[in-house]
């Protein structure tokens, strides 16, 4: 170990992974439906995409997690985004490319990707 920079480099490399175990700073939650319906529709690569992106960028305030069936199997893969203080946002028919766009526009810059949203009449009560 020659310098603090080397130490810092190791830390940054590992930190994205370690943040996964930190419960204190996690604010925004990205929740992927991973029931049989979701998995069959391709939720797993979506989950992995989100998880990778968040860790690559070393974001400490976003937690990527999974949930069961929400009952709207025909819209799977479904991704819910919960930003504190804002209504729940539900994206449907997701795939890894769409996930990347949601990550870049919504999670990084706060702009909801309108075209992937669930139809108005299906939105959960809390979002209206």
């Amino acid at each position: 170990m020659k310098s603090l920079e080397e130490l810092k480099a190791i830390r940054e490399r590992v930190q994205g992974q370690m943040n996964l175990r930190d419960e204190s700073g996690t604010d925004t939650r990205v929740v992927i439906g991973m029931a049989t319906c979701g998995i069959a529709a391709g939720a797993r690569p979506v989950l992995n995409k989100f998880s990778d992106l968040v860790q690559e960028k070393n974001l400490t305030d976003i937690i990527v997690t999974q949930t069961g069936c929400a009952g709207m199997c025909r819209y799977e893969p479904i991704v819910d985004v919960f930003v504190p203080g804002e209504p729940q946002v539900t994206y449907i028919h997701m795939d890894p490319e769409k996930a990347e766009r949601v990550f870049n526009e919504h999670l990084l810059h706060g702009k909801v990707v309108e075209e992937y949203l669930i139809p108005e009449k299906m939105q959960p009560v809390s979002a209206k």
Binding site: M1, K2, L4, L7, R11, Q17, L20, A35, F50, G68
Partner: protein
């Protein structure tokens, strides 16, 4: 990259309840489900809730599975990791929690009231992977010290933080370092030692830190080496802690490989090395002068102080010796500042303290609380109270050097000075809870038996004095004591306190003195009434058969190992008190509850 981490506790408690096998099974099952690249399995150190082991925590949602069995693994992998459904019937539930609430780790009463400084990484990182330690800001404090701070600044920071020795006596850590730096300045070798010879019955926080976060000790020792001008450190650890020894070896190897130990660390010109020394398990070797004598390869016996180790310690050179838990606080103080640390705790006891909860308590395990927390909060809120609806009687702190705190002091804020004032001491942090079924004379006898066994024999007050005290206690528990014996105990205790050579002897009478003070009635009951109120002391018990209840089934007579119960079938039986050995076998076997002990 992994989207989820499965943390399996690898502390000694969980390993002995089978966690090592779980790790293999999780890996196998995860591979089988094709999740190998998505889910990581990590072995961690102790989570603290040893009573509920083996413990498995799944991140990112911090789902807390308790008492996981081998056959549960496939269900957790399939349901939770594959399908995202928490396996609620395996999730840890608290006694107070009547509902089916699934709580994450930090929401449980057990963790919510804790403040984790020394244990911050235990149960969170993989102790065998230096990268994970670095990912939690590990070795940053060492880097900061070597590149930005003068040795004097380091000592000042530790002094200002108010950190006191966690081994029990509570000597200010900064003061120790300052003396070791300033008293001898001849440019010769100085030493930094870590006391990991945890010997108090019931205390296991040092083991857990070494098993769960070994690098923190290495980092802290290197910081101290820089502060006092030492280039060599020794960790004296019990050979009975095989997992701790193994992980320390791994950690030292990794730190050397990364250049965080060895020559010219961070190109600062500072070099520091650490070696392990294994202790053979003598209690006295936890005493600082005996420990250093033992490192030198001699018989572990204490010597009088002064000279203090800061002037003449290991190999007659200036030495500092701190306990594992003390070391675990150092990097955090450097990183967060003295004021941050001093903001926790009471006026004279800063920071947090780790306690090992044991005895008659629901949540057996390790807890870390800010100084000044009351005993009531520790026992009732965090510890989950006394099991089976029994009444709290006393808490024993400080092991064989401490005393018993009765229920009347339940609301005293725990810190060094308060505990001493009520006749106990902080000690290394063992906290044994006792309920109405514990006999206080018997407890005092238990601890005295321990000190008699462990006395090194070098000085007379300890070698002979503790033996005499033990004999008196033994007489009392057999119903042969007199009131005069109680006075003699007081007198002997005072002599031993004043005249013993080292801390072990000086504090050995404490268990007797504190029980005499708070539970005098119980002693009197033993010597005057010849009764043991808690029904523990065998010599004072009588087993009798209630004639009205006895149906003459002969079961007691058949189970009596000394055949002292007589009677024929369908007739009332009687116990021959002369021959009875009070084993209780008859009472345990009576189907009609016809036998009582008094």
């Amino acid at each position: 990259m992994f989207r989820a981490h499965v943390l399996v506790c690898g502390g000694t408690g969980c390993v002995s309840s089978g966690s090592a096998k779980l790790i293999d099974l999780f890996k196998e099952e995860i591979e089988k489900q094709g999740l190998k690249d998505e889910v990581a399995v990590v072995q961690t150190g102790c989570h603290g809730l040893c009573a509920m082991g083996p413990i498995v925590v799944v991140y990112p949602d911090a789902t807390f599975y308790a008492m996981v069995k081998e056959e549960n693994v496939s269900e957790i992998v399939e349901e939770h990791l594959l399908k995202g459904r928490v396996v609620s019937h395996l999730v840890y539930k608290e006694e107070s929690d009547a509902g089916e609430n699934v709580k994450s780790l930090n929401d449980t009463d057990f963790y919510k009231k804790q403040t984790r400084v020394a244990l911050r990484n235990c149960g969170v990182i993989n102790p065998e992977n230096i990268d994970e330690y670095i990912g939690m800001r590990g070795y940053e404090a060492l880097g900061k010290v070597l590149t930005e701070m003068q040795p004097e600044d380091v000592i000042d920071t530790i002094l200002k933080s108010g950190l006191r020795g966690r081994g029990g006596a509570g000597f200010p850590t900064g003061q120790k370092w300052k003396l070791a730096r300033e008293l001898v300045q001849d440019g010769g070798q100085k030493y930094v030692c870590c006391n990991a010879d945890e010997g108090d019955p019931g205390a296991f926080m040092d083991r857990s830190v070494l098993e769960g976060d070994p690098h923190v000790v290495l980092e802290a020792m290197a910081i101290a080496g820089y502060a006092i001008g030492a280039s060599q450190g020794y960790i004296y650890v019990r050979a009975e802690y095989p997992i701790a020894v193994e992980r320390l070896k791994i950690a030292i190897g990794q730190a050397k490989e990364y250049g965080l130990l060895g020559e010219n660390i961070f190109e600062s010109g500072f070099s520091f090395d650490i070696d392990l020394r294994l202790g053979a398990g003598a209690f006295v070797c936890g005493e600082e002068t005996a420990l250093m004598t033992s490192i030198e390869g001699k018989r572990g016996e204490p010597r009088p102080r002064p000279p203090f180790p800061a002037v003449s310690g290991l190999y007659q050179r200036p030495t500092i010796l701190n306990n594992v838990e003390t070391w675990a606080n150092i990097p955090q103080i450097i990183l967060n500042g003295a004021d941050w640390f001093a903001s926790m705790g009471t006026e004279k006891s800063k920071g947090t303290k780790v306690f090992a909860l044991g005895g008659k308590i629901n949540n057996t395990g390790l807890v870390e609380i800010p100084m000044g927390t009351t005993l009531r909060e520790v026992v009732e809120d965090i510890g989950g109270g006394v099991p089976n609806g029994k009444k709290f009687k006393a808490a024993q702190t400080g092991g064989p050097s401490g005393g018993c705190i009765p229920a009347e002091h339940f609301d005293v804020p725990i810190d060094y000075d308060n505990l001493t004032a009520i006749g106990s001491m902080m000690g290394s942090g063992g906290l044994i809870v006792m309920d109405e079924d514990n006999c206080m004379v018997d407890i005092a006898k238990f601890f005295l038996e321990f000190t008699v066994d462990e006395s090194c024999g070098k000085c007379v007050p300890c070698r002979i004095g503790t033996k005499r005290m033990y004999e008196i206690l033994d007489r009392i528990t057999k119903g042969q004591g007199t009131l005069k014996d109680l006075d003699r105990l007081q007198e002997l205790a005072a002599h031993i306190k004043d005249n013993a050579l080292c801390g072990l002897g000086q504090t050995a009478p404490n268990p007797i003195l504190s029980t005499l003070q708070y539970f005098h009635d119980e002693y009197v009951a033993h010597v005057v009434d010849k009764k043991c109120p808690a029904k523990v002391c065998r010599g004072l018990l009588t087993y009798t058969i209630i004639p009205e209840k006895c149906r003459g089934c002969t079961k007691c007579a058949r189970n009596c190992p000394v055949r002292c119960i007589s009677g024929t079938v369908k007739e009332v039986h009687t116990i021959d008190q002369e021959q009875c050995i009070k084993c209780g076998a008859c009472m345990a076997n009576c189907p009609f509850d016809a036998i009582v002990k008094e």
